[in-house]
Symmetry: C2
Subunit: 263 residues, 2 copies
């Protein structure tokens, strides 16, 4: 087993920068997963990691997920001290396990969608929300999640972590032009609803979902943008609330919508 002890080591600096910098991730085409479980999930989809870094404390703790990863890497695994784990971590309590990955070459493409049920995220802000939504959609059995490019990056540590691995099992489509993506779906015969409150909004429980359906979730503060709203079916849909709350958490609203689409 190899050992790295210097925080100035080239690989350590590379991996730290990958966790912090979206542009650097895409220019190098690599990303980092943290934690044994998330890295295990990544390996199920992506195979063998480029690198596995692990602390003695994590090795002592062991566990099936880490054993599986160590098995894959054998003597290529790299032992790192706690202080490097703390440099690399994006979490409050580092787990001492880091894998380096090549981004998948074939990202899912909108033109490959012919039917199915999708959530569309229009400019969400919070990485935890985006990750949680991907996790929920995968859990409920939706066919994918479509993101505007203005959402947090999929390969940021917070998004990855909050997907709990769902990102490695569910197709996620990132669109530079979300209006165009919505119009493309509608041309293919999709129902595409925006979630928005208007006088004639339809109760989400009253929709008959076809096998070509998508629902747009808007930004946490501002909701669905006007251009998207106008590109969707009219009227919009809402989650009916009995209390006095102004709104739901975006992760919760998305989960309710996804649940209703497959319930």
């Amino acid at each position: 087993m190899l050992t790295i002890t210097s925080r100035e080591n080239k690989l350590i600096k590379h991996m730290a920068k990958l966790s912090q910098n979206r542009r650097y991730r895409y220019s190098s085409g690599e990303f980092v997963t943290e934690g044994d479980k998330l890295s295990w999930e990544a390996a199920q989809s992506l195979g063998k990691p480029l690198q596995l870094l692990v602390t003695q404390q994590a090795l002592n703790k062991g566990g099936e997920a880490l054993e599986f990863l160590m098995d894959k890497m054998q003597e290529q695994a790299v032992l790192i001290p706690e202080e490097i784990s703390e440099k690399l971590t994006a979490a409050q309590t580092p787990q001492g396990v880091f894998c380096l990955w090549q981004m998948p070459e074939n990202m899912p493409k909108m033109q490959d969608i012919s039917k199915g049920k999708y959530l569309v995220l229009d400019g969400l802000q919070d990485p935890g929300n985006v990750g949680t939504i991907i996790r929920s959609c995968e859990a409920f059995g939706l066919d994918g999640v479509i993101l505007s490019a203005s959402c947090p990056d999929l390969y940021s540590p917070k998004v990855l972590r909050s997907t709990m691995g769902g990102i490695f099992r569910l197709p996620v489509y990132v669109c530079d032009n979300l209006v165009q993506a919505v119009l493309q779906l509608r041309e293919k015969g999709f129902q595409v609803y925006a979630t928005a409150l208007s006088e004639d909004s339809r109760d989400i429980t009253q929709i008959e979902w076809s096998d070509k359906a998508a629902v747009v979730i808007g930004n946490e503060g501002n909701g669905v943008s006007r251009e998207i709203l106008e590109s969707c079916e009219q009227p919009s849909v809402i989650i009916k609330m009995n209390g006095n709350a102004e709104s739901l958490n975006a992760g919760v609203a998305s989960a309710i919508v996804a649940w209703e689409m497959v319930r």
Copy 2:
């Protein structure tokens, strides 16, 4: 309008400690809300705050919620510099508005529950989850949330913030002995289900909810504790998932359950 400029001012130290220390909150019987919206929500339920601290930047930004609070306090409002706002804040970007409150004297009591629909939180860990669950339950029109004392404190800044004010509109019951609370509910004729996976778990969509119903949500990592599980109806209930996810985010699972109870 009064002005405080010293970080060592007694009131500033008191309010900072209230935000950080659960025991101190309960020994002094006071708590702090941060932000104009949350403080406005608190005022709807609790009346006039003991103190209102505001930065010049927040005053310049203005808004209805802050105007309402300033109106209540008149010349008793206190102007603070940004550096004190940064000392007091529990958020990443301080909003420059802080209110000090007396805790309500009459906390809701389990013995007052005679019917209705409730979520029961058994040892949840994450303050954001607890707050989000209270927000969702209030939004969907449940009658209350019941917490084990091992959950994060209701008056911690993170819980308060993530309730988005729901905590000031929904009865929340905190129980030292959650097993006893569950048994009390059952004696009153409540259905009390635990959410747990077992061979014969019932699909949550198949339950006929009476007007006396409660569902227990377990800890993020370990689920519902054994003693609680044994005190509930048999079998337990589950949220059926089609994907390969091991679990849902606790806030999401709770929202789906609450939604199903009132749908």
